[in-house]
């Protein structure tokens, strides 16, 4: 039983450590994804606008004089 107890303690600790590692990784990942998503959203908005203007340019062009 003693052996079992030691093993139980080790396993509990290892599971706890793994949980902490995962939490930490998730938190970092979440932070990174949030940050980069915001950055990308800004680019998307800007390029959408640029594309819209590009399309508008194609659709209208400069009238012949």
């Amino acid at each position: 039983m003693n052996d079992d107890t030691i093993q139980d303690t080790e396993l509990t600790q290892e599971l706890a450590t793994l949980g902490v590692q995962i939490d930490s990784a998730t938190a970092t990942l979440k932070k990174d994804v949030d940050e980069l998503s915001t950055e990308l959203d800004t680019h998307f908005a800007a390029t959408d606008k640029a594309l819209e203007e590009f399309v508008q340019e194609l659709e209208t062009g400069e009238e012949e004089v």
Partner: protein
């Protein structure tokens, strides 16, 4: 005189199609896969309407080239008239000298008084007057050609500057847009790379977490096999599994964002492709037209195949047919259209129709190895025609011939123009034949272009 068959040469629907393409000369003549461009435009969130104005530019380029042909044509005419006039001047000098000799020499004066040389001198004087009259006529032609040349040059200059102005503006504006797009593309590219690296790193971590968890689960199984109570581990393992799911959610969020970034990049690339298609389309078209005019005679494409191909050559043929063929919907053939064609190709040649007819007869004479219409009623029609054929009749005959005979098509497209050129009185110089014919083709095209714009 036999009547030309009344069989329509073109289906009504084809005529409609032709009318549509005449209205919008621009975009449908642009080379390239427009189905693809349509899709690409949809992909970037727009509709492919831009071709209308961009096509206008193309239309103007074609028009400018046509004017260029007209300028060349008038130059050829002017040069021809001037050469003829010079020849007549020389002739006049000779005749005048001969006349003077008859009158001036003492012996001849004696004979003149006696009436011996009166007739000879009179005849020389008559020829002198006749040549002078011809010279006056050529002076008028020179004046008219000069005026037409100046007019064509002015037209060309107007269209050229219009094209340059418009293309420059459009290109500059499009370039500005593309530069902005490119800037955003580069900026977002670095963000995308960073996100890709974050996702990749976390995917590896997730794998290692999953491996670690698997090992711990194995130890739990060992504990169970040893008869131990693993309930508390089960709870802990479920907690860790929940954490991994949380990590997965964040990973998926990153991947979804990446997918959107990739789709966005495709749209940007499409914008580039569209822009390139337009540029290449217009430039390529223009280059092709120039190459077409400059093409050596030996490398001319088969006119027959060209007449069935919806390319630019086809347009020339369509223009000719359009001008020559009577309307299919039974509305009277427009004499104005044919007069216009006639005047631009046979101007100043009152006997042009007779000469052209002679040429036609010669072309289809039995001795001619190219005579492919001998067995056709059209052959008889041509044989029985007089030089006073009215425009309407000419239109009927020529359109029938054009529609039924590949030989005649080829003939119209090359030799007939040569013949018209002869009738027109423009001396054909060696090595200049092709370009002279080309300028006449340009005339036809111009007539067609005018008819179209009207």
């Amino acid at each position: 005189m036999s009547e030309a068959p009344k069989t329509p040469t073109v289906e009504a629907s084809q005529t409609e199609e032709k009318k549509e393409s005449i209205v919008d000369i621009g975009y449908e003549n642009l080379p390239g896969n427009f189905g693809w461009t349509d899709r690409a435009m949809t992909a970037v969130g727009g509709k492919w309407n831009g071709y209308k104005t961009w096509g206008q530019t193309l239309g103007n380029r074609i028009l400018a080239n046509t004017y260029e042909g007209t300028v060349a044509s008038h130059e050829v005419s002017l040069h021809g008239h001037e050469k003829k006039r010079d020849a007549l001047e020389n002739k006049l000098d000779t005749i005048s000298a001969e006349k003077d000799q008859i009158i001036d020499s003492e012996l001849n004066r004696f004979r003149l008084v006696r009436g011996v040389n009166k007739a000879r001198a009179g005849w020389k004087a008559w020829r002198e007057e006749r040549i002078k009259s011809k010279i006056r006529k050529y002076d008028q032609r020179i004046k008219r050609s000069g005026s037409l040349l100046r007019e064509a040059q002015a037209n060309k200059s107007v269209v050229d500057s219009r094209i340059n102005r418009t293309v420059e503006k459009n290109t500059r504006r499009l370039d500005d847009r593309l530069r902005t797009i490119n800037l955003h593309k580069e900026k977002s590219a670095s963000t995308v790379t960073r996100l890709e690296s974050v996702v990749e790193r976390n995917e590896h971590m997730r794998e290692s977490f999953a491996d670690a968890l698997e090992k711990l689960k194995e130890r739990r199984r060992e504990g169970r096999r040893a008869g131990g109570d693993t309930t508390q581990f089960d709870t802990k393992i479920e907690e860790v599994k929940g954490k991994i799911r949380e990590l997965d959610r964040e990973l998926n969020r990153g991947k979804t964002k990446l997918d959107r970034a990739y789709a966005h990049r495709t749209r940007l690339e499409n914008a580039y492709d569209i822009s390139e298609t337009i540029r290449e389309g217009i430039a390529g078209r223009y280059q092709r037209r120039i190459a077409e005019v400059a093409r050596p005679e030996s490398s001319s494409p088969s006119r027959e195949s060209a007449s069935t191909t919806p390319d630019f050559d086809g347009d020339i043929h369509a223009s000719i047919i359009d001008l020559l063929a009577p309307n299919i919907d039974d509305t009277p053939f427009s004499p104005e259209r044919f007069t216009q064609l006639w005047n631009t190709t046979f101007a100043d040649a009152p006997t042009g129709s007779a000469k052209f007819l002679d040429f036609l007869k010669g072309q289809f004479a039995p001795s001619n190895p190219n005579a492919s219409l001998e067995s056709s009623p059209l052959y008889t029609i041509v044989q029985n025609l007089s030089g006073d054929v009215p425009f309407k009749k000419w239109a009927d005959i020529l359109s029938q011939l054009y529609a039924t005979s590949p030989a005649f098509r080829s003939f119209v497209d090359t030799k007939a123009l040569h013949a018209m050129n002869d009738s027109y009185g423009v001396p054909l110089e060696k090595n200049a034949t092709k370009s002279t014919i080309d300028t006449l083709i340009e005339r036809l095209r111009l007539s067609a272009a005018h008819t179209r714009t009207i």
